[in-house]
């Protein structure tokens, strides 16, 4: 099981990065890990199902805020975390019900607006959320425990995703992505599948939010804007939507670039923009897709057979 | 009118058309026959510069048009009624028809529109509806009408009878015969043998991207080898 091996390996790597790095780099490591967890969820609905879900930052923030609020009511951290995740999954269900009849860009813009409204709530419901400046988060887990949970979540998340991806659920989602009407006509209960994917996706985002809040110590509306949703969406695409490791690669690329490029105000952003475009143009299937295409070409060149007819898609990287 | 010489078309690893040569004269209907995947559609697309040509020279009306892009070919007087109709589903039927006469003056477009409505009466009654709502056969009729809107001197038709009821096939056949009589050159890709018989004087048979037989239609169709191999049991 190379997939499982990879998942465990990534967990270990995540742990080493989180404990080994500090300051700026530590922050980058944290964000990469947190985003990876959130993007694993997104990889279900968007990667496999092809639904551009821009509510992800709202779910992410929902988990962070909700767990912080619940923790302050005196609940044990684990209970607060589970309740927060469950609450966000319920919200995910509602969002999915509302927008499940819409497709493509309609879905994208509907969910994007949902995030915009969630950000409004985070900003304005100051009694609960601390308002625009954010809300300090009490320590529910020790910092060490949080780091272990973060690292473990990456592995568990990837394993779960792999399992979902090779199961019938994964096939059904891929079918929805390819042609939703046709999928219905070969018997796929599309609405139910979409709802389930959206709810799972929201759950992963919420859990990532819980851990992010614990680690960062403060959550603020600016961390959960529709811009973040959009960035997550792009990250998954850049990493390789639908591929097992797409979330990790996408998170590393986007977070790494946004946080580590420091060429002065403006310039970093311009370079970032150019890089986004270049990666998109050069690697249509994301970085992972590009890598495997390159690997294929190298292998073909080495064996002397320029086998250009190979056209895999939706494969698990 | 049309002279295609040594046309070769490849899609990546697949060679769809290999060295096909054919001619079509004004006022006649030239058939292109062949089994599925023989390269008929690709040949028509190649003529109109819509498929990647590896080789081939195309002469139209005495002029070498090999290097022309599709726009220039259309302006020169070539029109294609494509496989699968390809109407613009969200645009009105009338807009679809008008697009067939893209690049002509407003007055011309209006006249031709009126001619089309005269020719296909029911189309006029539904002209404001989105084309995507029509039934398959109705769309096919509109697609043919759209191709006629440019008043082409060379009309390429890719299976115009598909989806049409037998009566409608006869009607379309009559229209096409009219057009040919008026001096247009027609190239007809068709599986409907009855239509081929009715319209075509000569035909080419393609197999695996190559011309394997050509000549007057009655002779071709009576050649049992040809009919068995490429046309199935003829009726």
């Amino acid at each position: 099981m190379t997939a499982l091996g990879g998942a465990v390996g990534l967990s270990v790597l995540a742990y080493l990065l989180l404990t080994g790095l500090s300051g700026d780099q530590g922050q980058v490591a944290l964000l990469v890990v947190v985003w990876t967890i959130a993007l694993i969820g997104l990889n279900l609905i968007q990667g496999l199902g092809g639904y551009p879900n821009l509510a992800h930052a709202a779910f992410f923030g929902g988990g962070a805020y909700l767990s912080a609020v619940l923790l302050d009511t005196g609940l044990p951290m684990t209970v607060a975390a589970l309740l927060a995740v469950a609450g966000v999954m319920a919200a995910g269900l509602v969002v999915a019900l509302v927008f499940s009849r819409t497709r493509g860009q309609y879905f994208a813009i509907g969910t994007m607006f949902f995030t915009a409204v969630a950000t409004l709530v985070f900003t304005n419901a100051a009694d609960l959320t601390g308002g625009p400046n954010g809300r300090p988060v009490a320590l529910g887990y020790s910092l060490e425990a949080t780091v272990v949970l973060l690292a473990a979540s990456v592995g568990v998340g990837l394993a779960l995703f792999h399992w979902a991806s090779v199961s019938r659920f994964g096939d059904r989602l891929r079918a929805i992505r390819a042609d939703e009407d046709l999928a219905q006509h070969v018997g796929v209960p599309t609405s139910r599948v979409k709802l389930l994917a959206m709810v799972c996706s929201a759950g992963a985002a919420a859990w990532a939010g819980v851990l992010f809040g614990q680690y960062n110590g403060v959550v603020a509306p600016s961390q959960f804007t529709f811009g973040q949703s959009f960035l997550m969406f792009v990250a998954l695409g850049l990493g390789g939507a639908g591929r097992l490791l797409g979330p990790a690669v996408g998170a590393a690329v986007v977070i790494g670039l946004t946080q580590l490029l420091t060429l002065g105000p403006g310039v970093s952003q311009i370079v970032l923009g150019v890089l986004f475009i270049l990666v998109t143009l050069l690697a249509p299937e994301g970085v992972l897709g590009g890598v495997s295409a390159l690997a294929r070409r190298v292998r073909a060149a080495r064996t002397g057979r320029a086998d250009r007819s190979v056209r895999g898609e939706g494969a698990v990287a | 009118m049309l002279d295609v010489h040594d046309l070769t078309i490849t899609f990546g690893p697949t060679t769809a058309v290999r060295g096909v040569s054919l001619t079509a004269a004004a006022g006649t209907v030239t058939g292109v026959l062949g089994a599925n995947g023989a390269g008929k559609t690709s040949t028509l697309l190649g003529i109109l510069a819509r498929a990647p040509r590896q080789s081939g020279r195309i002469t139209f009306d005495g002029a070498d048009v090999t290097g022309f892009d599709t726009g220039a070919l259309v302006r020169a007087g070539i029109a294609l009624c494509p496989e699968n109709r390809r109407l613009f589903p969200n645009m009105s039927i009338e807009d679809n028809l008008l697009l067939g006469a893209y690049g002509t003056g407003r007055a011309t477009r209006r006249t031709r529109l009126r001619d089309t409505y005269d020719r296909f009466g029911w189309v006029a009654t539904r002209r404001a509806e989105p084309a995507g709502r029509l039934s398959g056969g109705q769309q096919q009729t509109v697609a043919i009408a759209r191709a006629l809107m440019s008043a082409p001197r060379l009309l390429l038709l890719d299976e115009p009878s598909s989806g049409l009821s037998p009566v409608a096939v006869d009607e379309v056949g009559a229209v096409l015969a009219d057009i040919a009589r008026d001096g247009t050159a027609l190239v007809l890709v068709e599986q409907n043998v009855r239509l081929v018989r009715a319209l075509c004087a000569t035909a080419y048979v393609l197999a695996h991207g190559q011309v394997t037989a050509s000549g007057p239609v009655p002779e071709l169709l009576s050649d049992t080898a040809v009919s068995d191999a490429y046309l199935g049991t003829t009726a």
Partner: protein, 391 residues
């Protein structure tokens, strides 16, 4: 070079400023003033542990987003650069959890948010009078000098400084017996304020109070004037003439007419010669009208030097923090501190300056002092009214 002579040890401290984003009217000016202060300090340097030292500031931009960029910058400064003290502007509450994990004294040069930042953490110091110390002056002045009996308040919702101001204005208005004619809001991110403005003006107030920072209120002010309102406008944004010109455009002079600003004392209107000299230097060097906050920023290096000297360490945050609490008003500072108990700079981590109401001088691109005052127990004390002359 500005960072000292080669034979001195360079001490690095941090500064987290809003160099971009909606608070970008504040950060760059602070950076300018900090730079002036550092250079002045380093001309002579300071001595700690028997060695001559010079100061260097490591600047970070919080992009007006303390919770995300600011916290990251704080971690970076503390964990990687190991700075022993940090100057900063806005976002105090956001830094508290990180301060709990890794304490470091943080000296605030700007944050006036209501009800105050000092209760958030023991590691925070405030070098200025906060909004509760100057907002009561707005209403006091409006009532007595402008004859205001009713006022409409327009608030930027989702902008903490503005939300705090509105609470203070409401409270002070009550205390002064000024009626709040209307209380209208607009979301921070919006670009059209017509609903808030119509509601405020429809109540026919004697004056309008705009609650938020410069970059936010000036466009509102412009639309307010475009909508036909010509009455007095009061705010606590610290608008300077350069900003007014840039953001308001050609009509700025008429738009700024009848504008009153209550905030810290301005270096340009100050009676203190040190402050006046600083104002001149600053204006000459940067071709920009200095805001109140420039004085506090300018003084930060001197405060650090004094604390390090007293603590006899350049690296131990805890000792430096303790020393901050004990130092007197340092030499070379220009802010005009109101000294606390025993001449100390900080009383309960709070250093205060007098507050001021300024008024726009039409046709002169400058501000005049209309009232200088202090506030005790939410009430204005010791008001003085300079001659009403411009320039």
């Amino acid at each position: 070079s500005p960072s000292g002579s080669p034979d001195s040890d360079v001490v690095k401290v941090g500064a987290i400023l809003s160099l971009s984003g909606i608070y970008a009217t504040l950060g760059p000016a602070q950076k300018n003033a900090l730079q002036m202060g550092v250079e002045e300090l380093n001309r002579t340097g300071f001595t700690v542990g028997g060695r001559k030292r010079t100061l260097e500031i490591s600047y970070a931009d919080d992009r007006s987003d303390a919770a995300t960029t600011g916290v990251t910058a704080l971690r970076e400064l503390v964990q990687s650069q190991k700075v022993p003290v940090i100057a900063y502007g806005l976002g105090s509450d956001t830094y508290v959890p990180q301060l709990q994990r890794q304490p470091v004294p943080m000296v605030n040069m700007l944050d006036s948010s209501y009800p105050g930042i000092l209760g958030l953490s023991d590691h925070l110091f405030l070098t200025r009078g906060a909004s509760p110390t100057y907002v009561p002056g707005c209403l006091y002045y409006a009532k007595r000098k402008l004859g205001t009996t009713s006022i409409s308040v327009i608030t930027a919702k989702g902008e903490p400084y503005g939300e705090g101001l509105t609470q203070l204005v409401t409270k002070s208005a009550q205390a002064e017996g000024v009626r709040i004619a209307a209380n209208s809001e607009f979301p921070l991110s919006s670009t059209d304020y017509s609903n808030a403005i119509s509601a405020a003006v429809a109540a026919k107030p004697d004056a309008v109070y705009l609650s938020s920072v410069t970059a936010v209120i000036l466009p509102v002010l412009k639309q307010l004037r475009q909508s036909g309102y010509t009455g007095p406008v009061i705010h606590s944004a610290g608008v300077n003439p350069n900003q007014a010109k840039a953001i308001l455009g050609a009509q700025y002079d008429s738009i700024m007419k009848d504008n009153y600003d209550c905030a810290g004392t301005l270096p340009t209107t100050s009676q203190d010669p040190a402050a006046q000299a600083f104002a001149k230097d600053y204006q000459q060097r940067y071709d920009e009208y200095p805001q109140d906050l420039t004085m506090w920023a300018h003084d930060f290096p001197f405060i650090v030097a004094a604390a390090m000297t007293k603590a006899d360490t350049v690296s131990d945050p805890a000792k430096i923090e303790q020393a901050l609490k004990e130092i007197d008003v340092p030499q070379g500072t220009v802010s005009g501190w109101l000294p606390g108990d025993g001449g100390r700079l900080f009383t309960d981590r709070n250093a205060r300056t007098a507050s001021e109401v300024t008024a726009w001088c039409p046709g002169q691109d400058t501000l005049r002092s209309a009232m200088v005052f202090d506030v005790k127990d939410d009430a204005v004390v010791d008001p003085t009214f300079p001659q009403e002359t411009c320039g």
